[in-house]
Amino acid sequence: MSIGELIFLLTIIVTMGGALMAVLSGSVVYALMGLVTAMFGVAGLYVYLDSPFLAMMQILIYVGAVSVLIAFAVMLIGPLYRRPKEWTTAGKFGAALGVALVTLFMFVRFVTETFPRVGKPSFAMTTKEIGRLFFDNLVLPFELISLLIVVAILGAIMLALFSRGNK
C-alpha cells in the first residue's frame, strides 16, 4: 500500500467518523466538530478527485462560513440553554448500525449494479473552465444562486434586526 492510499483511507475514515460524530454526539458543539471533520474529509476526497480548487472552496465556504455561522449561533444560545438529551446509548448504537446497514444495502443493491468499476481517466478541467461554464451554459443557475444569496443575506439581516427590535 502506498502512502497515497494510506492517506486516502485515512481521509475516508475521517469523513465517515466525522459524519457519525455529527449525528450521534449528544452535544451540539461536538456535532459541529464532527461536521467540520467530515467536511475536511470531503475536501480531501476532492483533492483525490483532482479538483483542488473545489477542495479549497469546500473548506472556505463550508468550514469558513457555514460551520462558523452555526458555531456562532451555538455560542450565542449556548450559555443560556440546557441541552436536551438527544440519544440514549442504545439509541446511538442502533442508529449507527442502522445507517451502516442501510448504506451497505443501498451500495450493494444499486451503486455497484448501476455504475461500472471504471478507472479514472485523465482530466484537465481547470478553474478557468469552471468559470467559463458558469458564464456560459450555467448562467441561469448562477444568477439564481446569486439572487438567493442576496435574499438570504437580506433575510438574515432582517431577522436579526427584527429580533433586536422585538425586545
Binding site: 475516508i12 459524519a19 457555514v66 440553554y81 439509541g91 442508529a95 451500495f107 455504475f115 478507472g119
Partner: protein, 107 residues
C-alpha cells in the same frame, strides 16, 4: 497504476451514500434545530461528493458536476444564514430550540 483505491468510483459513492444516510438519520432523530441543520449540511456534502465523483469518472470532458457542487455550496451558505436567523429568533421567543415542541409556526 490504475488499481489504487482512489481510482475507483465506488468508494466515493459509498462515502457519499454514508454521508447521506447519516444526514437523514440526523434530521429525523435530532431534537434541536441546530442539530438538524448540522445533519442537513452532511446531506449536502454527500451530494457534492457524489456529483464531483460522477463528473470525474463518468464524464471527464466537462465540469458540470463541479459547477453544480459550487452552486450547492452557495445554497448551503444561504440556507445556513437564513436557518440560523430563524433559530435565533425562535430561541429569543421560546427560549428553546427543540424542533418537536414547535407546534405553532404562525407567529
Amino acid at each position: 497504476m490504475t488499481d489504487f483505491f482512489y481510482n475507483y468510483l465506488h468508494i466515493y459513492l459509498f462515502v457519499a451514500l454514508f454521508l447521506l444516510f447519516c444526514g437523514i438519520a440526523g434530521v429525523v432523530y435530532r431534537r434541536t434545530l441546530i442539530g438538524m441543520l448540522v445533519s442537513m449540511e452532511l446531506i449536502m456534502n454527500g451530494a457534492g461528493l457524489n456529483l464531483v465523483a460522477l463528473n470525474r469518472f463518468i464524464s471527464p470532458e466537462n465540469a458540470y458536476g463541479m459547477a453544480f457542487t459550487l452552486i450547492i455550496m452557495g445554497i448551503a451558505a444561504a440556507e445556513a444564514a437564513i436557518a440560523l436567523g430563524i433559530i435565533l429568533l425562535i430561541f429569543r421567543k421560546y427560549r428553546h430550540i427543540e424542533g418537536g415542541d414547535l407546534k405553532e409556526m404562525k407567529d
